[in-house]
Amino acid sequence: MELLKFNGITALVLKRVGLGLVTLWVISLLIFVGVEALPGDLAEAVLGQSATPETVAAFRKELKLDMPPHVRYFAWLGAFVKGDFGNSLANQRPVVDLISWRFANSLFLAGVTAMIAVPVAVLLGILAALYRNTLFDRLISMATLSTISFPEFFVAYILIALLSVQVVIFPSISNINEQMSFWQKLYAICLPCLTLAMVVTAHMMRQTRAAIINILSSPFIEMANLKGLRKLRVVVLHAFPNALSPVINVIALNLAYLVVGVVIVEVVFVYPGLGQLLVDSVSKRDIPVVQASGLIFAGTYVMLNLLADVLSIVSNPRLRNPR
């Protein structure tokens, strides 16, 4: 009787979580091998031009970098499985301390951006489908595609030039810290948020439009049209629910991008997120930090994809009750 509860969705979720864990393990291995394959190690990378054989040797000995790679990897894995992320090799701080608040910052920026970008993109997508091939549709497509076609930093600099230097509305750097209140933080991240929203909107909007238009050529839409229903009602109530699955997928991908792919925006706006930490750690060969942030990024992708699949199923009765 217990097995019956393991219906479609639960079984799928369990299976996917299991696969996700395997994926994460493979990724941890790839990251380790990748960082090992880079020339030089932490001692040389941190000391740079001021490295001498003596200081490099002292560094290596203290950090156990003189041990063979597989010993270090399994030592790390063993601790990681027990929930110990280890210490940063470069400054001996616990990795958790380095990552947790930065990850919270990354989520904050991604969350606020998503709250603006997702509704706008879906709404624009629906409107574009509704008035497809009109001037309105073309204008929206052109505008959103232009913002996605420019590199992020370019959009960012333009926004800074317009809204921070010419007209002083928003701050040009978003270095939020714990002394700031929630509203101060929100104000500080206006420009990076706007930049990212402009970059991700196009993708989601185009996908929404395409999915709805695709559905609009189905027989049941024709039926609805023949019944004389209003166009808006046809699109919103008949076509959109059926187009949800691809839309959810593209939203999930863009959300993942917002969490993991915003290094350049972080640099331009001096935003203390996880991306900058990852870049610094790779260039310094700080393997524990690279591992932990790499796994968080990979985990974000796995989670969001899983969520997208589950939501697609839930939103689609045909998948919800498979025969």
Binding site: Q49, T55, L98, S164, S172, V267, V270
Partner: protein
């Protein structure tokens, strides 16, 4: 009329002589030595005001930074630790002279081998402990203890013995005489923290205490109310932000989110200068770029080849295009005009294709191709400098092949490995430190693998020489030797450009490091 303030006023207006002033202050039971009125003109010119928060946006911070004074690798931690939180025994003033800081005075034996330093009394650490000789000895030993990672190890290794004579007197015995020992002790690594503590915790003697430090991101410090200097550390709070992107720094300063930035964009600084409310500061310091040739490797072991390449560089053009005029031409030695014994009479090496051809022919290498390795990691514009070099050398019939190397790992895989490459040098405040770091026989960073007997002999002799005149003669000769026979082309010295809000005021800027010797948080103040 007999309050210290009144006396200072009289003294400043010239109604009291210096001698009378000191005598009358002493009569009040006060040491006139602590009066700011005796401290030279900058303090007088504009009397500094307390208060405000100084916000610095700095390039040169990484998430791997630490407060450990032995591992200070970039501008943000250096400004934080040396410029804000800590003090050394001596400091370098705006004229490049060592001044007492945690030390009160010092003297040496005539051979400059034994030094006795008297420490300042009543200096308190941020944790309330009073500083004495044990703390100083512990802090210096920090850089040479078992398994240390300190970059300052070569500096302290020259000390054979440190003896505490009484709680405020230390006797140093050096392996060989060093007339510049007070300079050495001003080094930004050699700051003093309390005995038997982990110096990476950030407890020192400086004008500010660290409240929060997030490496590469932000440091926040508040004024130390018990600071031993009454005429320094004017701000209530100091905030240091790591902003590695030059455009972000520029915008932040322009829009008033920071008050000071370092390393302006050379391309736009002329526009910046015109902006109201902004002051651009130029420091001609020790920073220089070199093209290093391995003198132990053919064909660079032949001095004619080296001379040919030296004559094939158009230095004026390099300063004009690569530095956009913000620098000075080099003369193939690493001593800057900011150094004490810069050889200003040495003829400037000019671009001379004929001489280059002559020396190349003399070396019998008319057809050779030279591979020059460069990357932006060496210094900004290094690859462009290589291309410019290639162009000017071509006119002398010298073929140079510019090899663009990856930035990542440049210092491990290219520098000191490839026989001819571009190198960055921050420079040193004394001739001896510069030469002993990179030109003496067998030292770790002798990137030209150069070994010149006369030069090495002079280096040791000049180090222990206390006679100014003789010493100058030796250093001038050494600059000449490096210029004519050394393994480096030194095409240019780069100026440091920083910018700040014009609400900030400062005295004459020290040139030993960027931002007033890293000391802007301690030395600058807000106009009233």
């Amino acid at each position: 009329m007999n309050t210290p303030e009144a006396l200072e006023k009289l003294f400043r207006s010239g109604k009291l002589s210096r001698r009378e002033f000191i005598a009358r202050m002493s009569a009040l039971g006060l040491a006139a030595a602590v009066s700011p009125a005796l401290l030279g003109t900058p303090a007088l010119a504009a009397s500094p005001k307390r208060g405000g928060r100084l916000r610095l946006g700095l390039n040169g911070g990484a998430t791997s930074d630490t407060l450990d004074p032995g591992i200070q690798l970039a501008m943000m931690p250096q400004t934080l630790v040396y410029g804000t939180l800590a003090n050394s025994l001596t400091e370098i003033d705006a004229d490049g002279q060592p001044q007492p800081e945690l030390a009160e005075s010092w003297e040496s034996t005539p051979d400059a081998k034994k030094w006795v330093f008297k420490l300042r009394k009543g200096v308190e650490f941020h944790n309330g402990k009073t500083m004495d000789a044990d703390d100083v000895i512990y802090s210096l030993n920090w850089h040479r203890k078992e398994g240390t990672k300190s970059a300052a190890k070569p500096l302290v290794e020259a000390i054979v013995e440190m003896k505490k004579e009484d709680p405020y007197t230390i006797a140093f015995e050096l392996a060989s005489g060093n007339a510049d020992f007070p300079y050495t002790l001003s080094d930004y690594h050699l700051v003093v923290g309390p005995k038997d503590t982990n110096l990476a915790e950030g407890v020192f003697t400086g004008g500010y205490k660290v409240e929060t430090f997030e490496p590469g991101v932000r440091a926040f410090c508040t004024r130390n109310p018990n600071y031993f200097k009454s005429d320094r550390a004017w701000f209530d709070e100091v905030e240091i932000l790591g902003i590695n992107d030059v455009n972000a720094r520029t915008n932040a300063l322009k829009t008033g989110q920071i008050d000071v930035m370092n390393r302006c964009d050379l391309k736009t600084v002329h526009l910046f200068k015109r902006m109201p409310g902004i002051q651009v500061m130029r420091q001609d310091g020790f920073k220089h770029f070199t093209f290093a040739m391995r003198t132990d490797t053919a064909p660079y072991d032949n001095n004619d080849v080296r001379l040919a390449l030296k004559y094939a560089v158009d230095r004026e053009q390099m300063v004009k295009t690569i530095l956009r005029g913000y620098g000075r031409v080099g003369n193939d030695h690493p001593i800057s005009v900011a150094n004490r014994y810069h050889a200003s009479d040495l003829p400037q090496r000019q671009y001379d294709p004929d001489k280059a051809k002559f020396h190349l022919k003399k070396a019998g290498l008319s057809e050779a191709t030279f591979k020059f390795h460069a990357a932006e990691a060496a210094f900004k514009g290094a690859v462009d400098a290589g291309v410019l070099f290639k162009e000017t050398a071509a006119k002398a019939g010298i073929t140079i092949d510019v090899v663009r190397e990856p930035n990542d790992g440049y210092w491990n895989n290219v520098w000191m490995k490839k026989p001819f490459c571009a190198v960055f040098w921050g420079g040193r405040s004394t001739e001896d430190m510069m030469f002993s770091t990179a030109y003496a026989k067998g030292v770790a960073w002798n990137d030209t693998f150069w070994d010149h007997p006369r030069f090495n002999e002079l280096l040791v002799a000049a180090r222990a020489e206390l006679d100014e005149q003789k010493r100058r003669g030796m250093y001038v000769e050494m600059q000449q030797i490096v210029s004519d026979e050394g393994g480096v082309v030194v095409p240019m010295f780069s100026a440091d450009l920083a910018a700040a809000s014009d609400k900030l005021e400062h005295g004459k800027l020290a040139a030993n490091w960027e931002l007033d010797g890293f000391r802007a948080p301690e030395r600058w103040w807000y106009k009233s």
